[in-house]
């Protein structure tokens, strides 16, 4: 197990290196640079700025310097935010993005899992169909479309909630709901399938046969075992929340990592683009690793070598 963990952690290094290299090459292969403004800067100023940030050096040397900095936990500076360190830009956004993503995950787990279990218990009845169609609806409605519908209903028609911004709990409701739709649908779907599978197992029949109450059978025997496959979803879910953050944070003007990335893309802010890409790649890779470990912890039959 320890050997497996070490190997997986070591495997992160080439992955991140590859991600960094691809991003670096892509970023620098575009004509233009971070100094493009509506009113062009004088060439002398551009040259001096380039020299200050080492942008006039050959690409491989810039990349080497970046990697050296990375090893020391230095992600460079943002060219747009008057030399604010990238770690600070991301650090400022993490709290917001993590709150948003965490709340969405919470909603998804609180709604999706019970919905899936109930649907499986009432298989092929009205409640099942209702939950399956809700799940399909949630899975195939883009999050920003849901955001739009929410805004039209709660902000422009009934004036119950503020349209955009971040800070109060009222401002969090719509973005969290919009972001949680896809994970909720995912969870409901998988939980339903795995509960149906568990319900047909011999040990569940035994549990019924020995006269346990419905609650005991469902909670202790069915739900516990049905939730193991659901764990595997944590990886894709983390990815979905990351993906969603780009659009939802832009839509609701939320100052998180996703919006910082989108702003950086338009401003050619190399440092921030690199930093966010690496950060999100690390998040997704770690989520996948955590899933594999949690899987082994939850199901003793699984062994990694």
């Amino acid at each position: 197990m320890t050997a497996y963990l070490i190997r997986r952690l070591l495997w992160l290094v080439p992955v991140l290196l590859f991600v960094a290299a691809i991003t670096f090459v892509l970023m620098h292969s575009v004509p233009g640079g971070p100094w493009d403004r509506d009113k062009p800067l004088p060439p002398a100023a551009v040259e001096q700025l380039n020299r200050k940030y080492g942008l006039e050096r050959p690409l491989w040397e810039q990349f080497g310097r970046y990697l050296l900095g990375l090893l020391q936990g230095d992600l460079g500076v943002s060219y747009r935010h008057s030399d604010r360190p990238v770690t600070e830009v991301i650090g400022g956004g993490i709290k917001v993005s993590a709150t948003l993503g965490g709340l969405a995950m919470l909603v998804a787990a609180a709604v999706g899992v019970p919905l899936g279990i109930v649907a499986a218990l009432r298989r092929n009845r009205a409640l099942d169909y209702l939950s399956v169609s809700l799940a399909t609806l949630g899975a195939s409605t883009p999050n920003f479309v849901l955001g739009i519908v929410l805004i039209v209903i709660f902000a422009s028609t009934f004036h119950l909630l503020p349209t955009i911004g971040w800070g109060s709990w009222k401002q969090a409701i719509m973005p969290v709901l919009a972001l949680s739709a896809l994970p909720t649908a995912f969870l409901a779907r998988i939980t339903r399938a795995s509960t149906l599978d568990v319900l047909q197992q011999d040990y569940v029949r035994t549990a019924w046969a020995k006269g346990l109450s419905v609650r005991a059978v469902v909670l202790r025997h069915v739900a516990r075992n049905a939730l193991i496959p659901v764990l595997t979803l944590a990886g894709p879910l983390a990815a979905a929340l990351v993906t969603g953050s780009f659009i939802i944070e832009s839509q609701f003007a939320i100052p998180g990592v996703g919006r910082a990335f989108v702003t950086a893309i338009f401003g050619r802010d190399y440092g921030v683009i690199m930093g966010v890409t690496l950060f999100y790649a690390l998040v997704v890779a770690t989520a996948n690793l955590a899933v594999d470990l949690a899987y082994a912890a939850a199901d003793p039959r699984i062994r990694y070598r």
Binding site: L26, M27, R123, F144, A155, V242, Q251, I265, A281, N288
Partner: protein
């Protein structure tokens, strides 16, 4: 010439009635036709495809014609879905925009399937080093957060094509396709590894068929079912990605209408003219849902073993009985 053709065609019905051993695909098609949700999905896809194909015939105004005297008009007989800020007819823009969403959805999957099939087949051929190399590479691409990579690729290459709508479209579907292929490559490799254990493949190998022949004649056709299903599910994901790109400002250059762009444009006026943003938003959701239903149906049709089996026990009534028995038993005790 014509006579020759007709003689060739006539035997067909006879062949059809004789074919007692029904083909896999025909069977699947029959199961698909019996699936009402999948058929509804297919119908909506066809409707959108027809709207996209005949857009110049059924739109009521040129989609980009501005009329600043008629900006922000509500729905009326003249403008079925109203007009936008520049007085452009929303219905005409919606019909023309279907072309972009639909082509992005389908073309990205062509890119993804070609790449995924090539990599998956090559990995599954049985050369150890090649397999390891390709699969590690797939893992790395897989670890890249999808939309982030797409945003990066599109933001880089749309500058290179500077404002040309067609070329930006090419950039968008190549970018989304480049992110989508690892899914298919993994699937194909897995399929091939399990197929290679089966007798008909081992028989072909024993008879001395070359690796390439086994791969193309025996393995490839048998992986197509799951690949088609995965690609169908990939279409709504691609439609979403395109719309998302347009929404954050990385879509096709204006004024080309695409559903994503219409949503983005309409979003600016959401509090005053919600109808402008709702129509394209709901169109995107409906098309994505249609493809999802179709994908569900295809999966059930192509692999009946995967289809949700009929319930063996009806859980709930049986539960009630058990509970009652238990209580009676307790009282007796």
């Amino acid at each position: 010439m014509r006579e020759l053709d007709s003689t060739r065609v006539t035997p067909l019905p006879v062949v059809a009635t004789e074919a007692r051993s029904r083909g896999l695909w025909r069977d699947a098609l029959r199961r698909l036709a019996g699936n009402r949700l999948a058929m509804a999905g297919a119908a909506f896809v066809l409707l959108t495809a027809a709207a996209a194909a005949f857009a110049p015939l059924i739109d009521r105004y040129p989609p980009n014609r501005q009329d600043t005297t008629a900006s922000f008009e509500g729905p009326s007989a003249r403008h079925w879905l109203g007009t936008d800020q520049l007085g452009r007819d929303q219905y005409s823009r919606l019909v023309n925009g279907a072309r972009v969403s639909l082509s992005v959805g389908i073309l990205t999957q062509i890119v993804a399937v070609s790449l995924g099939l090539a990599v998956g087949l090559a990995a599954g051929l049985g050369f150890r080093t090649l397999d390891n190399l390709l699969m590690r590479f797939t893992d790395v691409v897989y670890a890249f957060p999808d939309l982030l990579f797409v945003i990066l690729l599109v933001s880089v290459f749309r500058e290179a094509v500077a404002g040309s709508a067609t070329r930006t479209l090419v950039v968008i579907f190549v970018a989304i396709g480049l992110v989508a292929w690892p899914n298919i490559a993994r699937l194909v490799r897995g399929q091939i590894l399990s197929l290679r254990q089966q007798e008909f493949v081992q028989a072909a190998e024993a008879l001395g068929a070359s690796r390439l022949r086994v791969a193309l004649v025996h393995l490839l056709p048998n992986t197509l079912g799951p690949v088609i299903v995965t690609a169908t599910f990939g279409i709504p994901a691609a439609i979403f990605a395109e719309a998302g790109l347009a929404f954050i400002g990385l879509g096709l250059p204006p004024p080309t209408p695409s559903w994503g762009r219409l949503v983005a444009d309409g979003y600016d006026a959401i509090t005053s003219h919600a109808n402008l943003v709702l129509a394209p938003a709901l169109a995107i959701a409906a098309l994505m849902m249609a493809f999802t239903f179709l994908g569900d149906g295809l999966r059930d049709a192509l692999d009946p073993r995967l289809a949700t089996p009929k319930p063996r026990v009806r859980v709930l009534p049986a539960t009630r009985v058990r509970v009652r028995v238990q209580r009676r038993w307790r009282k007796a005790a």
